[in-house]
Symmetry: C2
Subunit: 259 residues, 2 copies
């Protein structure tokens, strides 16, 4: 009866998290997932479920969230993102859409994710970028933060970084790289970039908060190494606010599941 | 009776123009001037009038708007901006406040102003910077735009750039420099920077619109030189949207009126 084959589409999304309760559908507000599913349903005429690689939290942004969905729509790959963008609100953009292998899974096929946390280090808070940077009105020492962050690299039990209420079975994760640097075009802007196989809920924000403490001299160096060893959350700083955090990209094996 | 001397204060302000009808008080909405005056009145306990260097238009941003006001308040210079920021909303920040000569005038003493216009050149609109950049979904040739913009430099009659309804007596202005460049940290970001003694209402936005046309190949090179010669508005492009424009700074003679 139905002559249209189902295909799986890999979708890259960018969004400003300010207005959303996060990626995942929730009862208490609007989720990015929900808005994307409704836009896809309008575009394709089918009820469409979308699975995202990362369940970004309320207020967290994305430049390279990756998702997948199945569709019988015949809209060609090269027109899909543009068509979807005519329906999506301006704070969510489809960056790219491509037909993937039928077993491509945005979450389970993901090999690495990269997050970036932006600090604004100055006496006066930023105005134009106030929705994107955590304002620290104290000197922050980049070299100290960078040295401190290095303890994250490797496969470790990050239990100390697990937010209370986290449901993760194992708290072992692998971090492949971490870097803190001053942006050449704006000395007030510090960028923390971390790449790893996966992250516990709030892990990057607890790292960002701890690095701010250590960089400002409010907490002793070596806190992260001690926290990894002891599993003690109290070795670490506050959970940094969500608006400084952006999911930069998600990586997949080989061709990333593209046909 | 009144033992407090009046002093004149020079105030540097940054703001996100999105929510405002512009710098100047108007009947149809909230102006930046009004919010700053009310914050100063609350801080000092005096009714305070604030004069700005530039009457930035609705939606236009500022990083270095300069203003002056008179006060009998004894709040010291080094604490004034921080105190004011506890009252101002987060989209307006006092960057600096300093006692100036009594004849310092933010508008009439100004010698030069610098504006910057931000374009976002890409297929997909920017999400995180969507309130700060004009999205152009076409290739824009930076070298062509840069060459075209050079015709602005010098003292010219910019009548063609005068928005209809402008009340300026003379349309002669001096532009001291203009530059178009690709931001090294983000190839999608093009920056148009212009410095001059003064600008007609909408002049920078008409320039930005014309450069976009010429850079995209939709209008012939030499349009600006022809417009300056003929005074013909039709040689020029559309008035670019306000959200791409930021007043970067205002310069003053010598010590800038500082004591």
């Amino acid at each position: 009866m139905d002559d249209q084959a189902v295909r799986r589409v890999r979708l890259t999304l960018a969004y400003d998290g300010a207005r959303y309760v996060g990626w995942q559908r929730q009862v208490n507000g609007l989720a990015v997932q929900e808005v994307v599913e409704e836009a896809l349903s309008r575009l394709t005429g089918e009820r469409t479920a979308v699975t995202g690689a990362s369940r970004t939290d309320a207020g967290v942004h994305a430049l390279g969230q990756t998702a997948h969905f199945d569709t019988r729509s015949r809209i060609p790959d090269e027109r899909f993102a543009l068509a979807l963008n005519t329906i999506l609100p301006p704070d969510i953009r489809a960056v790219n859409a491509r037909t993937a292998d039928c077993d491509f899974h945005a979450r389970f096929s993901a090999r690495a994710k990269t997050y970036r946390y932006w600090y604004h280090r100055s006496r006066v808070a930023p105005v134009l970028e106030r929705g994107l940077r955590w304002h620290i009105p104290l000197p922050l020492d980049v070299a100290t933060m960078s040295r401190e962050a290095r303890a994250m690299v490797g496969e470790h039990d990050f239990a100390a970084f697990a937010a209370s209420g986290s449901k993760a079975k194992s708290t072992v994760r692998e971090v492949t790289s971490v870097e803190v640097s001053e942006a050449p075009h704006d000395p007030a802007l510090l960028e923390l970039t971390i790449r790893g196989g996966g992250f516990l809920y709030n892990m990057v924000r607890i790292l960002a908060g701890t690095l701010a403490d250590v960089g400002a001299g409010k907490r002793e160096s070596g806190a992260i190494a001690r926290a990894i060893q002891t599993g003690d959350r109290l070795e670490l700083g506050q959970t940094a606010p969500p608006h400084g955090l952006t999911l930069m990209n998600v990586e997949y094996d080989g061709d990333g599941g593209f046909r």
